[in-house]
């Protein structure tokens, strides 16, 4: 399972709204995320990838698309 698959799996657990067509599309604009499910997304990513995301990294734009989430996770390596 690729990292993108794992991210999509986390998103699927917190939102019933289908993911947008492209990995670069906004998850907020697509209705997948809102202010409160964003909190669940961060917690889900921490659990899935075994990381602790510091509060200083919690910029909502960083998690606005599957592509941006991927880039963030890559920056943590």
């Amino acid at each position: 399972m690729t990292e993108r698959d794992q991210i999509q799996q986390v998103l699927g657990k917190i939102s019933k709204t289908p993911l947008p067509a492209h990995a670069s599309d906004s998850l907020f604009d697509a209705g997948v995320l809102d202010s409160f499910s964003l909190v669940d997304l961060v917690a889900g990513l921490e659990q899935k990838f075994g990381i602790k995301i510091p509060d200083s990294d919690l910029n909502p734009r960083q998690f606005d698309s599957v592509e941006r989430i991927e880039q963030y996770l890559q920056s943590r390596r």
Binding site: F36, L38, D55
Partner: protein
């Protein structure tokens, strides 16, 4: 540690329902409730100042505590919506309350976490000043409803004032501990400019509050050997019902132990926690042995927690 002797509050008479606000903002009344848990809020009269509302809440608190103005050693007034750069409303409130001439008053201008910070300061200064009257008063509708209003922000706010009397010697509950925190990394995410521009990056604020408040509460509980299920009531900043529910859930608070007035008052910024405390307190015949937790989070970001136990 000092004691909490009494609470008081004041809400302007003018009620603004979701239906009324929805028509003004061109949004849906049911959406307002689902997004915030708010059904109505109060709006101050045009000539009703922050100091006026603070005075009313302060009087209610002094009356509840059976304390005269002559017995007050220090007044602290929290307000983030004060229209002047300086002075803040504290000295004017002291005058309107009729505190003896020369009694010190202090402004805490930090919006939503202001009442919690003021209570912690009062706890620390009560040993020197005796009775410290804490008041938080806000006119948020004037700011949040200013044209062009952002419905996501405007639906949340209301006007009002809350108060708490902290006493060195005796009261209904003893303050057990408190912890104050700040993080300036996101100072621009929630701010009121001097020209009246009000900006709130809601997603970021909720994300930060949802992480920082439960962590701070859990840390303070652990430090004092309390577990969440021994807390009888959580009195917190009434920011948004959905956020409050998340915080309570995150710390493992049993159902029914978080007191909320937001449905009737909206988010009154720093005043909200003390308005909730005053209403809850009126419903309690006795606080003896009751464990109370306070929590607030707001612009800055500043946040804080406090524990008190009924005596």
């Amino acid at each position: 540690m000092a004691f909490i002797k009494a609470f008081g509050d004041y809400l302007p008479a003018n009620i603004v329902t979701n239906e009324h606000l929805a028509a003004q903002l061109k949004c849906d009344a049911d959406w307002i409730f689902s997004a915030s848990g708010i059904r109505q809020r109060r709006r101050a009269l045009e000539n009703e100042s922050i100091a006026d509302m603070a005075t009313q809440a302060g009087r209610a608190c002094l009356q509840s505590g059976g304390v005269d103005t002559e017995q007050i050693g220090l007044l602290i007034v929290a307000s983030g919506s004060s229209p002047r750069r300086f002075p803040g409303p504290a000295a004017e409130t002291a005058m309107k309350l009729g505190l003896p001439s020369g009694v010190a008053s202090l402004d805490v201008g930090m919006a939503s976490a202001g009442a919690l910070y003021a209570m912690a300061i009062a706890d620390s200064l009560a040993g020197r000043y005796g009775n410290v009257l804490v008041i938080a008063a806000e006119r948020m509708t004037e700011i949040a409803w200013r044209e062009p209003a952002d419905a996501n922000i405007a639906i949340l706010f209301g006007d009002g004032a809350g108060a708490c009397l902290i006493s060195r010697d005796e009261g209904r509950a003893e303050i057990v501990d408190h912890a104050l925190h700040s993080d300036g990394s996101f100072a621009n995410d929630l701010r009121l400019e001097h020209d009246g521009t009000f900006l709130m990056e809601g997603r970021g604020v909720i994300l930060q509050a949802s992480r920082k408040l439960p962590a701070a509460l859990t840390s303070l509980l652990n430090r004092n050997g309390w577990s969440a299920d021994t807390v009888d009531m959580l009195l917190m900043h009434q920011a948004n019902q959905n956020l409050m529910n998340r915080v309570a859930q995150a710390i493992g608070l049993p159902q029914g132990r978080m007191f909320s007035v937001i449905e009737q008052t909206g988010n009154t910024s720093s005043a909200s926690m003390l308005i909730a405390a005053a209403e809850w307190s009126r419903q309690q015949a006795s606080l003896t042995n009751k464990r109370i937790a306070f929590a607030a989070f707001g612009a800055g970001f500043h946040w804080g927690t406090m524990l008190a136990q009924g005596v």
